[in-house]
Amino acid sequence: MSLDPGFIWTAFLSLFKALPNTLYITIVSVFVGFIIGTAIALIRIYRVPVLYPLASAYVLFIRGTPMLMHLLLIYFGLPIIIDGLAGALGLGFHSTVIPLIGFAYISFSITAGAYMSEVVRAGIVAVNRGQMEAAYSIGMTTPQALRRIVLPQALAVCLPNLSNNLIGMLHGSTLAFTVSVVEINAQAQIVAATNWKFLEAYIAAAVLFWGMTILIEQATAWLERRINKYNRGGVA
């Protein structure tokens, strides 16, 4: 068995079939994770009574365990909970109707939420308190001040971390093969096994992921320049 360069291209083309699944998983988990993360971050910043310890425990546990564990726990645990509840309430709902990719969405969103909460928290905390006070002094309400003054600045601060998280979730989506979702990694395994050309298939997968990562990095760099435009020529 020696390297067959031509097959790398063949494998590369067949990996494109699985690209949508990888992108769906990444985008859904980052998007939902961002919403969960913002909620968790606000709970922790404002120290909301009952929710605060819960939110802290969630972040601590998720960050302390591998992403694979979250996926396996959701995959095997959620059906037990859903079917138990449905049985107790007499609903006709059964967990088998959930598509496999749904488990990936749920578990990776939970993973991303914990990491995102740290990103958002760092971003909000980094914005000077005086900004909020200045917004109040000209008569803005709290939601207005948050939306118009604090959040745009927080976004600029947390953009690099956000991009790292996005790349992390893109790479993490390769784990979805353990619950039989055909994303790029699973497709590479299929192509490799059917043609008995493992190295070529994984080279193709690596190149595809590398390309996507570089794209994300470039896009972030461009966005960072744009978002930070207001900083140009400042005194700080």
Partner: protein, 255 residues
């Protein structure tokens, strides 16, 4: 989808999984130690701006940071024997663990090289000059002045890397390595008690990463001890921003 949840299995599985803990920890320790060596080799061309090697190390870092660790595992598992065949070395009977450790070492090497770069650049140039001024040799200045400070700067980054590496080892089972996750797979399919197995495994990972985090936190505080005593002049002469930030954070906490 498995049987009814039974807490007894949870208690039964924890010791069984813990008996494979040493393999997980061995992978982490070996790959981090090797990764530090790799990291230094990768970081040096960029620190000293060696023409061609600088570019090569950039590509290395970009590749290993730009592809999932799972893909890297497979690439090395299938690719390394091919590469070595070119120089007539047969590794087809080597232990899978060797490939796993190598993959994680090359992976963390890329991240460690970035940490080393940040840490060395983080130490003020004036520190070296001051060391020379009182008659230290280059080696003395490095080991006594630069290294301890760089180490303190890199501890938080290193801590994240080690904990990340610990969590990444859960993927080694894909190559058939019998570490904790690999063992959990066999336990789960043998007993059909999946959820108990994975809860047990998660708890173990959680406890270990918490212990690691605490240890590194303690180490960081110890290594930064000297900063407290020279806090005033350090700020006056405008040392690195990173340390300033940690100092400020400490003062705000009322330390």
């Amino acid at each position: 989808m498995g049987r009814k949840f039974d807490i007894h299995y949870l208690l039964d599985f924890i010791p069984k999984l813990l008996s494979y803990l040493h393999i997980t920890l061995f992978i982490v320790a070996a790959s981090i130690l090797l990764g530090i060596v790799v990291g230094f080799i990768i970081a040096l061309p960029r620190l000293y701006k060696v023409p061609v090697l600088q570019r090569a190390s950039q590509v290395y870092v970009s590749f290993f940071r730009g592809t999932p660790i799972l893909i890297q595992l497979f690439l090395i598992y299938y690719g390394l024997p091919e590469l070595l065949k070119l120089v007539h070395i047969d590794v087809s009977r080597a232990n899978v663990l060797v490939f796993v450790i190598l993959a994680y070492a090359l992976h963390s090497g890329a991240f460690i090289s970035e940490a080393i770069r940040a840490a060395v650049n983080g130490v003020d140039r004036g520190q070296v000059e001051a060391a020379y001024a009182i008659g230290m040799s280059g080696y003395q200045a490095f080991t006594r002045i630069v290294l301890p400070q760089a180490l303190a700067i890199s501890i938080p980054i290193l801590a994240n890397l080690v904990i990340g590496n610990l969590k990444d080892t859960s993927l080694a089972f894909t190559l058939g390595t019998m570490e904790m996750t690999g063992k959990s797979q066999t336990l789960a399919s043998a007993t059909q008690h999946f959820i108990e197995t994975y809860i047990a495994l998660s708890l173990i990972y959680f406890v270990i990463s918490t212990i690691l985090e605490r240890t590194f936190h303690y180490l960081e505080r110890r290594l930064l001890r000297h900063e407290k005593q020279v806090a005033e002049p350090a700020q006056q002469y405008g040392t690195r921003r990173l340390w300033k930030r940690t100092l400020i954070a400490r003062f705000e906490k009322g330390g």
